[in-house]
């Protein structure tokens, strides 16, 4: 029978691993394998503790992931975080075509393939005898090194030629330069990032890729639309806790605690309202906002979107993306607007790309509801007051 105490500390990884397997086995056939003295919760607590130990997560994060996934999927997720995602690149159609780029790289001995049915511009690089971020084609701006999941929100945004687009948190410009390519370098993009250091890489990427329709500025996103507004579309690729990209930055495993997640969530809500306010609902071609994060925390995703739905005159629309899991409409004690099923979640273990969240809004009116259903005592009715911003 599985000995669930004493807790193993400091970790003897092999022992911990064995006990994880044993605990999972017990949970899988609880009636027969359990110790009658122990409750299911005892086993689950032990498992969570051992998984945190084995994979180096803090207890808080492991609890959060346990809330998101059942045990089988949790293990798949944790394992996926231990391996790197494939190297992927995006053809810069302002300067090249995917077929030509692929041929040029194949001539340099690079082994690659199209990224998948869903993209006409992405390539997956299996191996390369030359540094893929330093080939003459790279330096000449024929492609961008870009994670697969980071292409999705740009496809969802679907900016049209001649539009005016805001990329609110844009450095180092992977998405900005893709937006510019879809707009065929016409119209105007405002590429903003509060971090001046990161704006250098952003500016370099814009120039390298031959993007000419862009203004780079370094404001706090909340300053929009005060500085400039009336955009046809806004992309908000918000700063986040990075729980979707643990394979890239393992420090997240131990660093991020509840107050970090809540702080991100707070900033995200503020930025999202600014993003919405920056769009002109009367745009003849657009009126859309895409919100995305590389976090899979509900607090940074559905919760933020639900918050905006309650405070602004917007509705969720289909992202137009062919794959991805539906966003949560309820999560633990939280209930979200039913249309949250139109949002999309991406997971490293399921899609072999960074964990990601994408939501697309259509703005319905430039009027801002003053307060969510202000209750008027005298009239005993719920009235909505509208104010012009």
């Amino acid at each position: 029978m599985l000995n669930i105490s004493p807790r193993l500390e400091p970790p003897d990884l092999q022992l911990v691993h064995q006990r994880i397997k044993d605990t999972i086995a017990v949970l899988g056939n609880f009636k027969r394998l359990r110790d009658p003295e122990r409750k299911r919760k005892d086993y689950l607590d032990l498992l969570r503790h051992d998984l945190a130990n084995y994979y180096n997560y803090n207890d808080y994060l492991m609890q959060k992931f346990t809330d998101l996934f059942d045990i089988k999927e949790l293990i798949e997720f944790l394992e996926a975080n231990e391996v790197e995602r494939p190297v992927t690149i995006r053809t810069n159609t302002l300067k090249s075509r995917r077929r030509d780029l692929a041929q040029a790289l194949i001539n340099r001995g690079v082994n690659l393939d199209p990224i998948g049915e869903w993209s006409k511009v992405g390539l997956i690089v299996f191996d390369s005898p030359v540094p893929i971020g330093a080939t003459p084609e790279y330096l000449a701006g024929h492609y961008m090194l870009q994670g697969a999941s980071s292409m999705l929100p740009v496809m969802a945004l679907a900016a049209q030629p001649n539009e005016k687009v805001l990329d609110m948190c844009s450095a180092p410009g992977g998405k900005t330069t893709y937006i510019a390519a879809l707009m065929k370098n016409t119209g105007m993009i405002v590429a903003n990032d509060v971090n001046k250091e990161r704006c250098k890489a952003l500016t370099a990427n814009i120039h390298r890729l031959g993007v000419v329709n862009t203004i780079v500025c370094s404001e706090n996103g909340r300053q929009f639309p005060k500085i400039v507004g009336g955009f046809d579309r806004v992309l908000l690729d918000a700063p986040c806790s990075g729980t979707g990209v643990i394979s890239k930055d393992a420090s997240v495993k131990s660093n991020k605690v509840e107050k970090d997640i809540l702080r991100c969530s707070h900033i995200q809500k503020e930025l999202l309202l600014s993003a919405i306010d920056s769009v002109d609902a009367r745009s003849s071609t657009g009126g859309y906002i895409v919100y995305c994060t590389c976090s899979i925390m509900v607090e940074e995703d559905e919760w933020v979107v639900d918050y905006a739905l309650k405070r602004r005159s917007v509705k969720l629309v289909s992202t137009g993306l062919e794959f991805g899991r539906e966003g949560f409409t309820k999560f633990k004690e939280r209930r979200f607007h039913p249309t949250l099923k139109l949002t999309r979640r991406y997971y490293p273990h399921e899609h072999n790309m960074d964990g990601f969240f994408v939501a697309k809004f259509k703005k319905l009116s430039n009027l801002i509801p003053a307060k969510e259903g202000v209750y008027c005592r005298k009239a005993k009715a719920i009235i909505f007051t509208f104010t012009l911003y």
């Binding site: 000449a140 701006g141 250098k200 952003l202 120039h207």
Partner: protein, 181 residues
């Protein structure tokens, strides 16, 4: 941001004229698609459509990083230094070009001069000390420089001699991304 002074315009256009003809410089400003302009911002010259320039004007000087395309920068001594970021506008109009063989690409992209042994082709009638665009054999612009030898002289030059002095190359996107803009 402000328009260039007459003096600055002169210095700037003289630099451009080393690579593209005055008629083509005029073409940059008289475009059929929209009106375009050059503007000075933090010592740098930016080229953008009027529409983009006007929107860029909404940002405080400190917060505006870039707009349209940066062509280069005025030095403290009032000279104009052309950046590789201008390459996309220079290459299509350039009168004189040199093509480097694949074995010479890396060397040039690390900031070295072009050697005769790396030279694939050179525009006929290139004179000595002429501004030239450096291309790969597959016609990808890699940077620009100044001819160290005329086309005639190149023919007779020995393999280790310099044929093009390096001025700027796209390898700077990796080497000097930090200081560039």
């Amino acid at each position: 941001m402000r328009p260039l002074t007459a003096e600055e315009t002169k210095t700037f256009f003289e630099k451009l004229a080393k690579y593209i003809s005055p008629e083509n410089i005029k073409l940059l400003l008289d475009r059929p698609d929209a009106s375009y302009c050059f503007r000075l911002h933090k010592d740098r010259v930016f080229y953008a459509s009027e529409k983009i320039m006007l929107t860029a004007n909404n940002f405080a000087r400190k917060e505006l990083v870039s707009f349209g395309t940066c062509f280069g920068k005025f030095t403290k001594t009032g000279k104009f230094r052309l950046y590789m970021t201008a390459l996309d506008y220079l290459a299509p109009y350039a009168q004189f070009k040199v093509w480097v063989k694949p074995n010479g690409e890396q060397s040039f992209l690390y900031g070295n001069h072009v050697l005769k042994s790396h030279l694939g082709r050179i525009t006929d009638s290139t004179s000595k000390y002429q501004g030239v665009i450096v291309m790969s054999m597959s016609d990808v612009p890699l940077g620009f420089g100044v001819s160290a030898k005329s086309t005639q002289e190149c023919r007779r030059a020995d393999p280790s001699s310099i044929v093009t002095f390096h001025q700027a190359d796209v390898g700077e996107y990796l080497r000097t991304e930090e200081t560039l803009l």
